[in-house]
Structure formats: C-alpha cells, structure tokens
C-alpha cells in the first residue's frame, strides 16, 4: 500500500509549521527525530529547507521558510514527502487575497499568488528531485494545509509534467487553486485516485477564491469532513489541529463515506432542478459555481460560433456573461432549459420572485440577476469574515 493514511498525512502537514518555525535547523532536526525517528529524515543538510517568498505585488516581500522535504525510512522506505506550510504570517494571508492568474507547469491558469509561492521554490524542488536518483523512491507525496495545500497541488502537477512521475497529493483546507481547465487537466494528469483533498464543510478558506476557481480533483472523491465549529468559527474550522482530530483513527475509505460529495453532471442537473428553497451558504455557493460553469459549457457546446462573437466587443464582463446565457436561451431546448434552470435557481437563492417566463429573460434581466448574485455572495463572505472580527472585538 503506497498511500499515506489520513492521520500520517495530517500530522506531517501540522508539523511542517513547527519545523519551519524552529530556531535553527539543528533544533528542527531534534524535533523531527523526537517524533519521527526511524521513519522520516532530512535527506541532505540545509538544502531541504525550502525558502519561499511571501507577499503580493503591493506588499513588502520577505524571504521565509515555506516547507521541507523528507525521506521515508523503515516502513516508510521508498516514500518522499514534500511538505508545504500554510498561512502562518499575516503577509501570507494578504498574499492569499491578492490574486490574479498565471500559467501552471502545463500552461493552465492558476492563482498567481499560489503559483509565485511555488515558483520561488521551484529550483530547490528541482534540485531535490534531481538528487532523488540515489534513493529507491516509489512514491512522491506532496502535502500541505491551507496555502500549503494549494502549493502542494501546483507542485504535484509540476512533478508530473517535469519528471513524468505521478505524485500523490494530500491537502487539508486548501483554497481553490486554479480555473476549470487547470483543475480538469491536473485531475486527468495526476489521476483523481492520487489526490486526497480533505476539508471541513464549513471551512471558509476552501471557498476562496470564489468562482470561477475550482478544486482539484474536479471529479472523483473528495473527503468532506464534518466541521468542528459553526459557520462563523473560521479559525476552528480551518485549524490544522482540528483536521488532525477529524481524520485520526479513520481510513481514507471511511472518510470518503462521511458525506456524499458526488458532483458529476447528473448531480449538478439534479441540483439545478431541485425547486426546494436554497439559502446562500458556503455549500450552495460551491454548488452554484459548479452549475454556472456547467451551463456556460453547455451553451458553448451548443453554439461554438458564439465564442468568436464573445469578447469582440467592449462589453463589460457581466454584460458578456449575460449575453452568453441569453444566447443559450435561443438555442435548442436541451441547452435553453438549463439556462432557465440556472437563472431560476439563482433567483430562488436570492429570494427573488419567480414570476418570470423565458420571454422575459432578456440580456438586461439576466445581467441584473447575476449582478445581484455577485453582490450577495460578496456580502456573505464578508459577513463571515466580519463576524469573526466582531467576535474578536467582543473579547
């Protein structure tokens, strides 16, 4: 069995914060040996202390340790662990919010902040990978929590592309890493069975950046864990200590059965057709982002010519989205019905009246609904974060 059990993956994701915060490398080594003696070792001197840059283009950048690489021994012989640290510093947190997109190893769009964090360590990972030949390695594990999970995902894709080796990727509370095409290609290249994404259902970090960013794997199993706190327990739900508690004593198979996380096309269609009242919450936002992409894809599939028309004007983005969806309404029923379902679903989520038929769904109207949605989603996420700060003041 080459996969790491959830508890081991979580423990090392937790301990990478400790290792990178140790006063000296010697102290980190003592700490590592105290817990993992005979199981995990530093492979070679200071080379294994990966250093990364933090901070976005508008913030002061500093160099700081970001991760470790470890070689397995004993019953972990043949394993390599590449560990990345998450948001420990405020500057990192700001980086997380400071997003544009840039190209991943296979040329797909990923969050630029995450990508730059990985790129700042790429040469060291490359150096490390080059030295691996002297070890008899069968499994490369990329592991991280929070920002570290996003970097681990980008690193995994990079290893697959550059070394033609299929890594295993373990993430806990990772934000969304890239756009649809990245998630799709990464899932295909690495294989959904090699990607272990564990997340508490109410972990707000996993909801950012908001659509159109997607999680990896796009299809297959993700490991949804019951949240230890309420929706407003931002810290608790994202805490790596809580992730360790949530997965300890359970196998991946047991964790996969905790929640039905199947979101294939059929389940998206079911969700769109479900007329039950749906509030705006972290889960429904996640579903909505999947449904939106699904419907846009259907429209483009049904009218490829639309691609050349779109973006040829000076319309705003919201206008263009509304334009694409409106064009979808004019297509065959197997496309238009999904546009109608999407618009109605959004209206239900927003608590808007449903007395509108297809003829009334003008570009202007669709744009109005989308605009409302965007404002409400923004407000919702802000509320979650603000509530945290209000609680802080109260204490």
């Amino acid at each position: 069995m080459n996969e790491l059990p959830p508890e081991i993956a979580a423990k090392v994701a937790q301990d990478v914060y400790t290792l990178t915060k140790s006063d000296t490398l010697e102290d980190a080594l003592l700490t590592l040996n105290n817990k993992y003696k005979g199981i995990l070792e530093f492979p070679f001197s200071e080379k294994n202390l990966l250093k990364g840059k933090t901070g976005g283009p508008f913030y002061i950048k500093s160099r700081t340790a970001f991760g470790f690489v470890l070689i397995g021994k004993g019953f972990l012989e043949g394993h390599v662990l590449i560990l990345f640290r998450g948001t420990q510093y405020l500057a990192d947190w700001v980086t997380n919010l400071n997003a544009m997109v840039s190209s991943s190893a296979v040329g797909q769009p990923v969050h630029d902040g995450f990508n730059q964090a990985f790129k700042s360590m790429e040469s060291q990972v490359n150096d490390f990978m080059g030295r691996l030949t002297k070890y008899n390695i069968h499994t490369i594990n990329c592991i991280g929590h929070s920002l570290g999970g996003a970097i681990a995902t980008i690193c995994g894709e990079w290893i697959q592309k550059n070394y033609k080796r299929v890594p295993k990727i373990y993430t806990f509370g990772s934000p969304r890493v890239g756009l649809y095409s990245f998630s799709s290609m990464c899932t295909n290249n690495v294989g959904s069975q090699n990607i272990y994404r564990a997340h508490h259902t109410m972990d707000v970090v996993t909801c950012i950046p908001i659509w159109p960013f997607y999680h990896v794997p796009l299809i297959g199993t993700d490991y949804r864990l019951e949240s230890p706190g309420s929706m407003y327990s931002v810290m608790t739900n994202h805490d790596m200590f809580e992730y360790v508690k949530s997965v300890s004593g359970k196998s991946w198979q047991q964790l996969s059965g905790m929640y039905d996380s199947n979101t294939n096309d059929a389940s998206i269609e079911n969700w769109l057709n479900d007329e039950a009242s749906t509030g705006l919450n972290l889960l429904s936002i996640e579903w909505l982002s999947k449904a939106l992409i699904y419907v846009i894809r259907k429209v483009f599939d049904g009218a490829a010519w639309l691609l050349s028309k779109t973006f040829s004007t000076t319309f705003t983005l919201m206008d263009q989205l509304a334009y694409v969806l409106k064009k979808g309404l004019d297509l065959a029923e197997n496309v238009s019905s999904w546009v109608v379902a999407l618009v109605k679903k959004i209206m239900r989520m927003l608590g808007m009246g449903l007395h509108v038929d297809i003829a009334e769904m003008t570009t202007h109207f669709i744009r109005y609904v989308l605009q409302n949605l965007q404002e409400r989603v923004n407000r919702h996420v802000r509320q979650v974060l603000d509530n945290v700060l209000v609680n802080g003041r109260a204490i």
Binding site: T18, L30, V101, Y180, P209, Q320, V388
Partner: protein, 172 residues
C-alpha cells in the same frame, strides 16, 4: 482559450469588488510565551547573577531579559500579543528561545515552538516552574504538539507517542 479568458474575467471582476477585503485593525489576545519562573544551576550549584535573554518570535523578534537572584531564582512575565490572528484562519506557531549567559559562557536553555495560543500550554495549564541544569544534556519533549528542547525539567507529561507503524499497516 476564450472560455479560459471568460473565466479569468469573471474572477477578476469578482475580486475587484473586494470580496475578501476586510479591516485588519481589530485585535485579540494570544500568549506567545507563558509566564515562567525557576532556578538555574550549574553542576548542581545555583547560578547567581546569570543573565537570561528571552526571544519570542511570531512575526518579529520580541526580546527581554532578567537576572537570577542569590538563590539562582528568576521570573519571566508572560508575553501576550494582541492580534487578529487568533480569529483568522491562520496557524499559530511561535518560536521561543532563552539563552543563559553565565560565567563567560552561553547556554541555550530553552528552544521551543508554541503551537497553541493559550497560556501555560507548556505545562498543561499549571504555572510553568522549571529547574534548569546548564551542564545537562538537551532534552526534547512535546507538550500539546509544541516541541521544547531544553536543559530544564518541570512538572509536565509529554504527549503520548504515536504508533505510526500500526497506523501505516492498518491504513488508519
């Protein structure tokens, strides 16, 4: 490609509306180093007038120092910080170091990483009262997932050892 462009534009639009902008002015209280007292000895004899320099680092170094009295006794006040990080989804990890300067020699008495924001987690809630022998071997102990490498002993039980081999064999 146009699909990607569309998705990028959607994202940029969302972000430009400041979805995740928030005020960073609020504050909460976290403990970076619990209050500590104790006795310093060298070869079993109390170290009088030893200078202890403490450095705490969360994002930046905070330094202070104290000196042992005629009984080798010292006290450090707890170090607190008001920070929003207690309430944001960020991992808490604080480096703690104490160097002792005594009789022209330096001893690294304490080097730890505090992983929880509560006070006295280094001693499981009790006051942190240590006895340190400068000529002893470094000991590593993990308490509440916070490793401490020190020349000291105090009343605390280490975290139980994890049987990784069994976990690996069973898959959980």
């Amino acid at each position: 490609m146009l699909m990607i462009k569309l998705l990028i534009l959607v994202f940029v639009s969302v972000l430009s509306n400041g979805v995740v902008a928030m005020g960073l002015s609020d504050a909460g209280k976290v403990c970076l180093f619990s209050g500590m007292s104790g006795v310093i000895k060298l070869d079993g004899k109390v170290a009088v007038g030893a200078r202890l320099v403490r450095t705490v680092n969360k994002e930046k170094d905070i330094k202070d120092e104290t000196t042992t009295d005629e009984n080798g006794y010292f006290e450090f006040e707890p170090v607190f910080e008001r920070t929003i990080t207690k309430y944001l989804p960020m991992e808490f990890a604080v480096s703690q170091v104490i160097w002792v300067h005594y009789q022209d020699k330096e001893y690294k008495m304490w080097s730890g990483v505090k992983r929880r924001p509560e006070e006295n987690i280094e001693s499981r809630g009790k006051p942190l009262v240590v006895e340190c022998e400068l000529n002893s071997e470094k000991k590593v102990i993990e308490v509440n997932n916070s490793p401490i490498i020190s020349l000291c002993t105090w009343d605390v039980e280490a975290d139980p050892k994890i049987d990784f081999e069994t976990i690996m064999k069973r898959g959980y």
